[in-house]
Symmetry: C2
Subunit: 354 residues, 2 copies
């Protein structure tokens, strides 16, 4: 049995007794019943995923997967492909948005090169983990983006990243990515794995103009026609249309769920990885929090299709895990309230009169 199958088989149900126990404590705290709203949902589900009624918070980690995309050759991005490697350096070097938030928040930041076009592993960038599946994917208009063996290797890289975080004591993992061209790949993957049509999934990415947007939609629709045999199959779809980082995020969702670690999914591209994980293991979404509703057009449509309510709605469309990291600050705050607020009994506060 391979790592993927082993991981899938070890994902169990949530612990509803832990959730009920956490709610009991929430109801004893000095506040009107239910008045913390979504923060109470976050605490309850955190406890259920962790199988821990005390909802203890350990290490918080952000895992960012970086890769290049053959489809970028079709002119689907406002930025040149070289930006992927430049941003890999910037993230590892501390200057990117996610680096700044992770540093200030005490989140462990792991950055993995799963297939940037230029191979820097011989003269490694400090702080980067190398788990390269290839030198970028192939152009999905000319064949599959990658082989089935590569999909499996990328998913395994994601599982291993989650297992590493688990071994280091993480109890909450945020998922992010970087890769020029990856909103195109994510839109194609999501169109193939959900009922949402391509026209609602294709957006401006890093800032396409109207003409670029039209071109991008044509590229995605051509890809969907070419790879229609893969429709509905997560592994086949990731191979046909996906990206190494998207498949790695699929693996990270699975690995974290197997380790009972809640995952905070970032925006549009991370959601594509999460949806593929849900197809491999129906019900997996219960182990995930959706950090924010991205301004990238397709994200709202997908979240609606799966009935997910994101924690934040700030029109962010940056990737890297930034929306996830900001949402983690709220999850932390919710857990802090759960742990540190006084109870009606301890504070001598009267309960309801009617």
């Amino acid at each position: 049995m391979g790592l993927i199958e082993k991981t899938l088989s070890s994902i169990g149900p949530l612990d509803e007794r832990a959730a009920a126990s956490a709610q009991e404590r929430l109801d004893s705290l000095t506040k009107p019943l239910g008045s913390l709203g979504c923060c109470e949902d976050l605490v309850r589900r955190y406890a259920a995923i962790r199988h821990d009624p005390t909802a203890r918070l350990g290490r918080r980690a952000i895992t960012v997967f970086v890769a290049d995309h053959g489809i970028a050759a079709e002119g689907v991005s406002a930025y040149p492909k070289s930006v992927t490697l430049e941003m890999l350096r910037n993230i590892a070097g501390g200057g990117a948005a996610i680096s700044v938030i992770a540093r200030a928040s005490g989140y462990h930041l792991a950055v993995t090169d799963v297939g940037v076009e230029t191979d820097t592993s011989a003269d490694p960038i400090p702080g980067v983990r190398y788990r390269r599946i290839g030198a970028g994917t192939a152009n999905f208009l000319r064949g599959p983006a990658m082989s089935i063996a590569q999909v499996r290797a990328a998913i395994e890289a994601g599982i291993e990243a989650a297992l590493t975080e688990a071994a280091d004591g993480a109890t909450l993992i945020g998922l992010g990515e970087m890769g020029i061209g990856n909103t195109t790949a994510a839109a194609a993957v999501l169109a193939n794995l959900t009922e949402v049509e391509a026209a609602r999934l294709v957006g401006r990415g890093t800032g396409l103009d109207d003409r670029g947007l039209q071109r991008k939609l044509e590229v995605v629709e051509a890809g969907l026609r070419l790879h229609r045999a893969a429709r509905g199959d997560a592994i086949a779809t990731l191979a046909a249309l996906g990206g190494f980082e998207i498949a790695a995020m699929t693996g990270a969702c699975l690995g974290a769920a197997a380790e009972r670690i809640p995952v905070v999914v970032d925006g549009f591209i991370a959601t594509a990885g999460a949806i593929a994980a849900e197809r491999l293991r129906p019900g997996l979404h219960q182990h995930l929090f959706f950090g924010h509703r991205s301004a990238e057009r397709g994200h709202a449509a997908v979240l609606e299709a799966i009935g997910a309510r994101p924690i934040l709605d700030l029109d962010i469309r940056l990737g890297e895990g930034v929306g996830a990291a900001l949402a983690m600050k709220l999850i932390e705050a919710a857990l802090l309230l759960f742990h540190e607020m006084a109870t009606f009994a301890s504070a001598g506060v009267s309960g309801r009169s009617r």
Copy 2:
């Protein structure tokens, strides 16, 4: 000239040049143009309110005003009136939700008794400031809730609280409150000062059942009939239907704006204070951030009526400034990104290609 008039006359326009300068820096950071969404709006407006293109963040403070309400005698709350004093002790003692968040976030927490029914000032509760305007307001079904002199004193208490924070170096102030019965007073004030009708403003507060909700609506409508002469006038409306803590929050909005300090308004009741401030000084809302959309029914209607987009939307309905404090974490994160992210030039990242 009294303190209120002096404060009103010293509130100036925002600094649009500081905003433009901040946006220029935002555009130089290593991210797609505009991709931080609302976080960029927060930074730009913070710079404009502060008249500081560098958007330096100083001390962050939460100011909570606590008072009792005569209208509580009409059975409009799910909790007994004694809870106001009990929660005053709990907030000052560190066990309330706002105490927990402020402590963990390094926010200075100021708690002011502006009129709790029981006077504890002779044997003062540690950590409480006493600026009592009275022993709770009067029942607004039997006359005005307070005198015009009391409204002015309460507004002045709020102005002074803001001036104290300014003197201590605050550059961001969150506004919160506690007072059994105050969603009733806030709904009545808002119905009198906006075009939103009472039925859309009256909600369940701390958790009324259907019968209680109906009773509360009848109380508010009776109050509006009795005090219809005050309609549209902020001072007269606060006197007729308001609360000491609501008027104090009005004053805090004015005082902070005069000191060029952005205010983060909490939920429904704080918004009533803010709307009264806007009536006294049209345009004041530009100096305010709305921290969250409360689950209390009327809040969404009021925010929509004034065209405000709240930072968070988490179904919180707790008061105390909790929604404001959580939103402040995001404002801080936005400013941190502004200050610490690398620029395209410093990180050697390529700009747009098309």
